[in-house]
């Protein structure tokens, strides 16, 4: 009889409905005393069958379906999908549309990072900072509403270009909002980076080492905070990014050293807000004139989808990381034959194992929120890594996970 191991660890299920989590996700923590031994995330509570539904519709309708994959980054999915379709059907995009797309992308990055900063402060219990950051974010939402007509779902992407132009008389309002951000950015940086409470809670906790981030293919600010230089705006030439001066944002630009903890992720996101502000300004001065969409008549566009057969990939740097779409047309119907969506948080769930190991329970919300998870994007992922020391039939599962931990820890 295998010796009866005393059960020293306890299971705590958190979610799917929990005040700390804004979205339904199910954590199962194995803790011994205060220390977390193990993480088991199971999602799928928001599986709305986006890809299957997309295969029953034509690409114009899919643009608005892709927009509702995630409410916060509601611009990156349709733009990556549009890029994939343009790659598959070889549709050219006019130059002015490149710059308009970069402006919308960077404006969404500012909104999303401000939202994240507020929610992260709220996770530590710092509500005054939440109200302050969201007050600044309201300005960004006003600008989004002014440019696109709706605060959150922008509906500005069209396959082959953009749906709304930025005319001369819109520029004063854009510059006024950007100046509002520039002089408030110093205040935000001062509050977030020099504050004792935020430093106390975020320095040295939730560490993701360089080679863990590389091995687990983490993306976005989470991996840049660990020093991996991976940013698809800089790596790849698309839209107007090759003409703008842009560089990887890693913590050593501000503090000179990289240790991949929650504090570094705050630094990377704040640097990216600053970078987005001056990217928008560069775009506004360098924007050539010209039309904004290659094929204004939609029925003609739908006819081209019916004729083409081919496949294409679309990549875009969303606020949380690299969004990847794959589309395949088979030439018979205008509906795509296959459509694969890969959201950035898809790759940022695996790094939770090394981050949350040996942390306290109280750190779970802030460490989980530090990768800026967007569960509605990520209902396609779950990892199992539970070490149950019960005797009976869990043996095989136990052997599997121990062997996996040893391999991961190598």
């Amino acid at each position: 009889m295998a010796e009866a191991t005393t059960k020293t660890t306890y299971q705590i299920p958190i979610g799917p409905i929990h005040p700390a989590l804004k979205e339904p996700v199910m954590f199962e923590f194995e803790i011994s005393g205060e220390r977390i031994v193990d993480v088991d995330v199971s999602l799928g509570h928001i599986h709305r069958t986006v890809e299957w539904t997309g295969m029953q519709r034509n690409p114009i309708q899919i643009l608005y379906l892709a927009e509702r994959i995630c409410g916060i980054c509601s611009y990156c999915h349709p733009i990556a999908f549009a890029r994939a379709v343009e790659h598959a059907c070889d549709i050219e995009v006019p130059e002015r549309a490149w710059y308009l797309r970069v402006i919308q992308g960077e404006l969404e990055r500012i909104c999303s990072h401000m939202l994240w900063a507020g929610v992260a402060a709220h996770e530590i219990g710092f509500d005054t900072v939440l109200y302050l950051t969201w007050q600044m974010r309201e300005k960004a939402l006003d600008l989004t509403e002014y440019l696109t007509g709706n605060r959150v779902t922008k509906a500005i992407t069209m396959i082959g270009g953009v749906r709304r132009d930025i005319t001369k008389d819109m520029l004063p309002k854009i510059h006024e909002t950007l100046n509002y951000f520039k002089d408030n950015f110093e205040k935000l940086r001062h509050i977030f980076l020099d504050d004792k409470t935020i430093k106390m809670r975020s320095q040295g906790c939730g560490i993701l080492t360089y080679d863990d981030a590389l091995k687990l293919c983490a993306v976005g600010p989470t991996t840049r905070a660990s020093g991996v230089k991976k940013d698809s705006r800089v790596d790849q030439a698309y839209f107007a990014y090759p003409d703008l001066d842009i560089d990887y944002m890693t913590p050593d630009k501000l503090t000179g050293e990289v240790n991949g903890d929650v504090y570094d992720r705050i630094i990377v996101r704040l640097l990216e807000v600053k970078q987005s502000i001056d990217l928008i300004e560069q775009c506004i001065d360098k924007m050539p004139s010209g039309e904004i969409v290659s094929e204004p008549k939609i029925p003609k566009l739908l006819a081209t989808f019916k004729k083409t057969s081919g496949e294409g990939i679309g990549k875009h740097e969303a606020p949380r990381g690299e969004v990847f779409h794959y589309v395949k047309f088979n030439g018979e119907s205008e509906k795509p034959y296959t459509w694969k969506v890969r959201a950035p948080t898809y790759n940022n769930i695996l790094p939770w194992i090394p981050m949350l190991k040996d942390e306290q329970i109280a750190d779970i919300p802030i460490v989980a929120a530090s990768t800026d998870p967007c569960m509605s994007c990520t209902n396609r992922v779950a990892i199992i890594h539970n070490k149950k020391r019960t005797i009976l039939d869990k043996e095989e599962l136990h052997r599997f996970s121990v062997e996996k931990t040893r391999r991961l820890m190598k």
């Binding site: 899919i62 509702r68 900072v129 509403e145 007509g149 779902t153 709304r164 020099d194 409470t197």
Partner: protein
């Protein structure tokens, strides 16, 4: 500086409140009486934050210009537009609409346009004023 947020909080006290007190400042004693008074124009409610030009609000449908070509039905992502074959006109359910204004762009005779009215909440989702005929 140990607590950087403190001076910001004190500075905030001297500034004008950021809140736009939308209908009224505080809870009215009886909402129905208040709404009737507003209807009669005795009471002035504070307007919401004004919407920018070409905001995407409630759809307006110009029935005469419509030729019944059903292009908008083919493009609507949420199936919110229903065709009435006998009079070759369309019927839009606002409870299903995503306010993306794709039907406005595709309409050849552009009889659809977006108003900036957005205060649409009702106890019954298929009530009269939530269906644009």
């Amino acid at each position: 500086m140990r607590f950087t947020m403190l001076p910001q909080v004190f500075a905030q006290m001297l500034k004008k409140p950021f809140t736009n007190k939308f209908p009224v400042k505080y809870v009215p004693r009886n909402t129905t009486k208040l709404l009737e008074a507003v209807g009669k124009g005795e009471v002035q409610i504070i307007p919401p934050i004004e919407t920018p030009p070409n905001f995407r609000g409630k759809i307006q449908y110009d029935k005469e210009k419509c030729t019944g070509c059903q292009l908008c039905i083919r493009v609507c992502p949420s199936g919110a537009i229903e065709f009435k074959p006998e009079e070759k006109k369309i019927k839009i359910y606002l409870a299903r609409c995503t306010f993306c204004s794709q039907c406005n762009d595709v309409c050849p005779v552009n009889c659809l346009s977006m108003s900036n009215e957005f205060l649409l909440a009702d106890t019954d989702k298929y009530s009269k004023d939530l269906i644009v005929e």
